[in-house]
Amino acid sequence: MNLGIWILGPARQGVGLMGEVLVRLFSRSGLHVCASSGSESPSMGGRVVFKMTASPDRVHVPGEGCAFLVAFDQGAAREKAGEATGGVLFDGDRVRIEAGGLRRHAAAIGLACSELKIEVDRWHLAALGALARLAGMDLGTLDEALRDARKGAASDALAAELSAAKAGFERAGAASPESGLRLQRSDHRRPALSGGQGLALGALASGCKFLAAGPGTESSATLRWLAPRAHRYGMIVRPAEDAGAAVYAAIGAGHAGARGLAVVADAASAVEGMEFAQRAEIPVVVASLGAAGSRFCAGAGCAVLSPAGSTDVLDSTVEAFNLAERFQAPVLLLLDRFLAGETQTVESLRLDAGIDRGLWAVPADEPGASAAPGPSAQGPSAEAPFDRYAETETGVSPRAVPGHDGLMFLADARGSADKLDRKGRSLTRGLKPSLLEGPSDAEITLVGCGCACGPMRHAMRHFNAGGARRVNVFPLRYLRPFPAEEASGPLKSARRLLAVESEPTAPLCRLIRGETGVAVERHCSGPDGGAVDGAECVRRVDEALHD
C-alpha cells in the first residue's frame, strides 16, 4: 500500500519545510520514500509543488496517486481537490471547497487559523501536524523530526511552531479519527537524500578538496547542504563568476594534485573546459545540474556518466572521481534538476568506497625514489627526462603535480589524437557492466538514463505485478564512451523497445542508433522537456504492449 501526498503552495510559505519534515517522518519509520519539489511556471500559478510517495516497499516515483492534498490557496483547491482520494487539507478562513469538488470518500479537513488560534504564517505547520496524524504517525516522532529540521531556530519560535503542529495534529484527529492510514512501519531508520545531496556526499567520500560552483547552482540541494559543512572535511568551496571559470578552476585544482569538482547549471557551458582537460589529460569532474535533456558532447578520452536514478548519484560521483584520476580525463556527471531535486530513501550510504588515484611518476625528491622506483613509476633520469605525455599502450602516462624536483613539464592541449584514442578504448574497458533489470524474456525493454530510470522502474513494477514477465529495464549509465558492444546484446534481443527520456527531440534514440545500429522506434518523453511522469510512462508502455 502506498501513500501519496501532494502539497501546492506559494513560494516562501513553508512548503519546503513541510516536505523535509515529512520525508524524515516516514523514512525514520522504516518506510521507503520518494519525493520531489518543483515550481510551476508563472502561467500555471507559479506555485511550489511538493509530491511524495511513502510505502513499505521500494518506490520509484514521487506522488504516485494523491491520498492527501494540502491546498494553500483557492486555485490549488479548485484544480487538484478532485484528485485526492483521502482528503484535502485547507485553511478554512481563506479557502472554500466547492460542493461536489471532492471524490466520494475524500474528507474536507478544514484547519482554520482562527479556530486553531495560530498565526496565519504558521498554517503550514498545522497542516504538517494534520498530515502526520492522518498518516498514523505519533506526536513524538513529529516533534523530533520538526526539531531536527529547525535546528538553530530560536527557542521561542520553535515552541510556537511545535504548538501550531500540535494544534493541526489534534484537529485532524478530531475531524477524522478513523482515517489514520496504517502503513507497515519499523524501527529501521532509512537514510533519505536527494540527488543533489548524493552528489555532495559522493564528493566528500571521494576526497574532493575543491569545489567551484557556477552561477545558478547556489540554491541547488548540493550547495545548500555542502557549503556550510565543506570546511569540516577540508573542502574549499568557491563560487565562480561563470560556468567556464568554475570548470577551469577545478582543472587548476586537479592539475595541482587535488580532486576538483565543478558544479554548473548547464553542461553546454562546460564543453570548452572539458575539451581542454581532455587534451591536456587533466582529471576533473564536472556535474551538471541544469535543465533536463541529454547532452552527450564529449570526444575520446572523456566520460559522461548519467546516474541511474537519484539513489545512484552518490555511487556515480565516487566512480566519476576514480575514473577521472585513473584515466586522467574529465568526467561529466549528467544530473538534471529532476534528478538533483528528487529525494529517495536508500538502504545504506556507501561512504567508504575505495579511492583510485591512478598512475604517478616518482619524483626525484621522494625519499628512496632513485633506489626503488614504484611499479607504476617512470621516474626521470639524466638520460631520460620526464615525459608527462609519454606514449603508452593504454594511453595513460604517469602524471606529476607541481612542487616536485625533476618532473617539470608543460601541460597543454597538444596531445596526440592516437594516444587519446587509446585512452578512450582503455576507458571503455574500465567501465562497470551495464545490467538489464527484470526478466530477460520480457515483452518490452525500456531504455533510458538519469531521471527516466525512476518512471521506467515504476512501469516495470506495475506491469510485472503478480509475477508477470512483461517489462524489463535497461538503464544506460555511460553515455560516453558508449558501451556499444555490451549494450548491443540486450537492445538487439529485445522483443520491443521503448526509449524513455525527458528530451522530446530524442537524443538518446539517436545516440543508441549511432553507436549500436539499433533503431528505437517508440519514444516516451516529458512534457516540454520536463521530467517523465510515472503514470505517463505506464500509459505509453501499455500502448506499446498493445501495438
Binding site: M235, Y248, A400, P402, G403
Partner: protein, 271 residues
C-alpha cells in the same frame, strides 16, 4: 601513491640563480617585442626571491604571451585564451605553497579574460598576473580608452604596477615586489609588437603603430606612469579568510578518505 609536494625553503633555493629557469626563449617571439625581456625579468625576480623552479607554476593563455611557460623551466600550463586566471586560482588554493604566476596577452585579457581579471582582483587571492601588452590589440598609447591597471585596482586588486618590458632591471624589481605581495598583484608589462604585427594592427584599427619610441617622439611610457602604482601591504589575502586554508593548510596534503567519525557524522545527517 600520490606524492605530496613540499616547498623548498627560500634560502636554499636562492643559490640556484636565474639559470635554474632555463637559458633560451621560444623561437616564435620576434626580436624586440618585449616578451623575451619580460621572461628574463621574471626569472631574475623569482631567483632573487629564492623561488625554486619546482615550486613555480606559470599558467598562460594563448598567443605570443602563451609561449612564456614554454620558455620557463618550471611547471607550466598553456590554457585557452583568457582562462589563465581561473586555472591559476584553482591550483593556488589547493596548494598555497606554490608560487603561481598567471600570464595573458592584452587581447585575451581585455576579451574573454576580463571577467576573470575583475573577480581575481576582487577575491585578492595570492596570485600574480602579468599582462604582456604588445600594443597590437587593445591598449595603444594614443587610444587611452581602457586602462587595465586602473581597472584591476577598481575591482579590488591590492597591488598594481606598470613596467616597460625593455627595461628588464626595473621590470624584475617590480615583478619581485608583485610576487612577494600577499594578495592579488597585477603587472601591466608594456611591450611593442614589431612591424609584422603592426600591419595587422593597422588593418584592424586603422591607427598608427605603437612603439616605445613613437614617431612624434613620445613613448608608451610617456602616456602612463611606470612603476608600482598601488601597493596595499596590510590587506589580508583570501587565503587568510578561507576557513579551510586558514586552519588546515594545503588541500593537496589532506588524506582523501573519510574517517569513521566523519562517516558516522554524515550518516546521522540523513537518518
Amino acid at each position: 601513491m600520490f606524492p605530496v609536494p613540499v616547498r623548498r625553503p627560500l634560502d636554499e633555493a636562492r643559490e640556484f640563480g636565474p639559470e635554474q629557469f632555463g637559458a633560451s626563449g621560444p623561437a616564435d617571439w620576434c626580436p624586440g617585442c618585449g616578451h623575451a625581456e619580460a621572461l628574463e625579468a621574471l626569472k631574475a625576480a623569482c631567483s632573487g626571491l629564492g623561488v625554486a623552479n619546482k615550486d613555480l607554476l606559470c599558467v598562460a593563455g594563448t598567443g605570443c604571451a602563451g609561449s612564456l611557460p614554454e620558455a620557463l623551466l618550471s611547471y607550466g600550463m598553456r590554457v585557452p585564451a583568457g582562462r589563465a586566471l581561473p586555472v591559476a586560482l584553482g591550483a593556488k588554493l589547493v596548494n598555497p605553497d606554490l608560487f603561481v604566476i598567471a600570464v595573458g596577452g592584452e587581447g585575451e585579457t581585455a576579451g574573454p579574460g576580463l571577467g576573470h581579471l575583475m573577480h581575481a582582483a576582487r577575491l585578492n587571492a595570492d596570485l600574480t598576473f602579468l599582462m604582456l601588452d604588445s600594443g597590437s590589440r587593445g591598449f595603444p598609447a594614443d587610444e587611452r580608452t581602457f586602462e587595465p591597471a586602473m581597472l584591476a585596482l577598481a575591482a579590488g586588486a591590492t597591488f598594481a604596477a606598470r613596467v616597460l618590458a625593455q627595461d628588464s632591471a626595473a621590470s624584475a624589481a617590480v615583478m619581485a615586489q608583485a610576487v612577494q605581495h600577499r594578495g592579488f598583484s597585477f603587472v601591466h608589462v608594456l611591450g611593442s609588437c614589431p612591424p609584422g604585427a603592426e600591419n595587422l594592427r593597422l588593418q584592424l584599427t586603422g591607427s598608427a603603430a605603437p612603439s616605445p619610441q613613437g614617431g612624434d617622439g613620445t613613448t608608451r611610457a610617456d602616456a602612463a606612469p611606470l612603476g608600482v602604482l598601488f601597493d596595499a601591504a596590510n590587506v589580508p589575502s583570501y587565503e587568510e579568510f578561507d576557513p579551510v586554508l586558514s586552519r588546515r593548510g594545503a588541500a593537496v596534503r589532506e588524506n582523501l578518505g573519510l574517517s569513521p567519525k566523519d562517516i558516522a557524522e554524515l550518516e546521522a545527517c540523513f537518518k
